[in-house]
């Protein structure tokens, strides 16, 4: 499947629930709503034509206004790849865990929780792992984060 076919297929498969973004370069980029995440993942994982069996990456983004969580997925069997993302407000950001579909999501989600403070539902093991165990300075990857010993690059 090339990109246009793939885009068409996915848009037709989930009518109304999924939106194609024009910011995505190279590969199709979709936007879904947060409560649709689990269903979406399940269906792309089990769909015959897509068979997305490989989770490349989960990354959170702090755009300054809200959080975005970007999922990059691929199919090893069908050689297709696309990304989708969902948006979350700053307050009470919370997403579902997709570990039941791709077990490798575990650490990616933990990282999202640890560095951005986005809560993961049903994760099961939300403990610190990148930061020191006694870290108490909040979520360092947020744009407005600051700490006493954090030195910013001098503006040139």
């Amino acid at each position: 499947m090339d990109h246009t076919e793939l885009t068409k297929y996915i848009l037709e498969k989930f009518p109304g629930k999924i939106e194609l973004l024009d910011t995505g370069k190279a590969e199709p980029f979709f936007k879904i709503s947060a409560d649709f995440l689990l269903d979406f993942c399940r269906s792309i994982h089990s769909d015959e034509k897509l068979f997305i069996d490989f989770l490349c990456n989960i990354g959170a983004v702090d755009t300054g206004k809200k959080f975005e969580v970007v999922y990059s997925v691929a199919s090893v069997k069908n050689h297709i790849r696309f990304d989708f993302k969902l948006e979350q407000e700053y307050e009470g950001a919370e997403i579902d865990s997709i570990q039941e579909i791709w077990a490798g999501a575990n650490w990616h989600e933990r990282e999202v929780w640890e560095l951005y403070g986005i809560n993961i539902r049903n994760h099961g093991n939300l403990t610190r792992f990148l930061l020191p165990d006694d870290w108490n300075q909040g979520f360092p990857m947020r744009k407005n984060w600051d700490a006493p010993d954090f030195v910013r690059m001098p503006e040139q």
């Binding site: 990109h3 370069k25 190279a26 690059m153 001098p154 040139q156």
Partner: protein
């Protein structure tokens, strides 16, 4: 049994392989007495270059290197005279911060800063790694270089140039046409420091 013989055979082969090397000459370079000849492009310590005839620094205080440095290891102290021209007071390179990437050397238009092929500068204190103008100049005295007076970078947008025709499908082809347009206002545009630094083509 066959497996056993095979195993013993392979163990002996292993011994012979190491034994073969026992007879070969060592490839070691015995450092303090013999030295590896550094390729001329090697990026060792950061130095300031000075003019071969006059012995003055090539630096024009254009601050481009300071801007380019990804770890902010370069600090230039200068003062402006009434014409607005900058005079170098102190050029500080902190080798504790430097990541030896060579971006400063590339940014410089006057061959003033270079990563020389020298590397033996371990010190007993941290402060000794903070080099000021005189040290930088002194170490850089005998560094050979070709003076390239690069012309001012044209203030033209860095439009994507598919310079050579690619037989296979180029990567850019995947992108939509509109992304190609959106790129054009990429910019070296007005860059006050750059224009200014390049203007006084130096008294030398």
């Amino acid at each position: 049994m066959k497996k056993l013989i095979n195993g013993i055979k392979n163990l002996v082969i292993g011994l012979l392989t190491t034994g073969k090397h026992l007879g070969r000459h060592a490839i070691t370079i015995q450092y303090p007495t013999q030295k590896w000849e550094m390729p001329e492009r090697s990026r060792g310590i950061v130095v300031l270059l000075s003019d071969k005839e006059t012995g003055e620094l090539n630096c024009t205080t254009c601050l481009l290197c300071e801007k380019a440095c990804p770890s902010s290891a370069i600090k230039i102290v200068y003062e402006k005279d009434e014409k607005g021209k900058r005079h170098l007071k102190d050029f500080i390179v902190d080798h504790g911060l430097c990541c030896f990437c060579g971006l400063c050397e590339e940014a410089c238009n006057f061959s003033a800063i270079k990563l020389a092929t020298k590397y033996e500068f371990s010190t007993y204190t941290k402060d000794d790694l903070l080099w000021h103008t005189n040290k930088l100049q002194e170490v850089g005295r005998d560094v050979p270089y070709e003076k390239v007076e690069r012309k001012k970078p044209e203030a033209k947008p860095a439009a994507p140039q598919p310079t050579t025709a690619t037989p296979s499908k180029p990567i850019a082809e995947k992108q939509s046409a509109k992304t190609g347009e959106a790129i054009s206002p990429a910019e070296p545009e007005k860059n006050p420091e750059l224009g200014e630094g390049a203007k006084p083509q130096e008294d030398k």
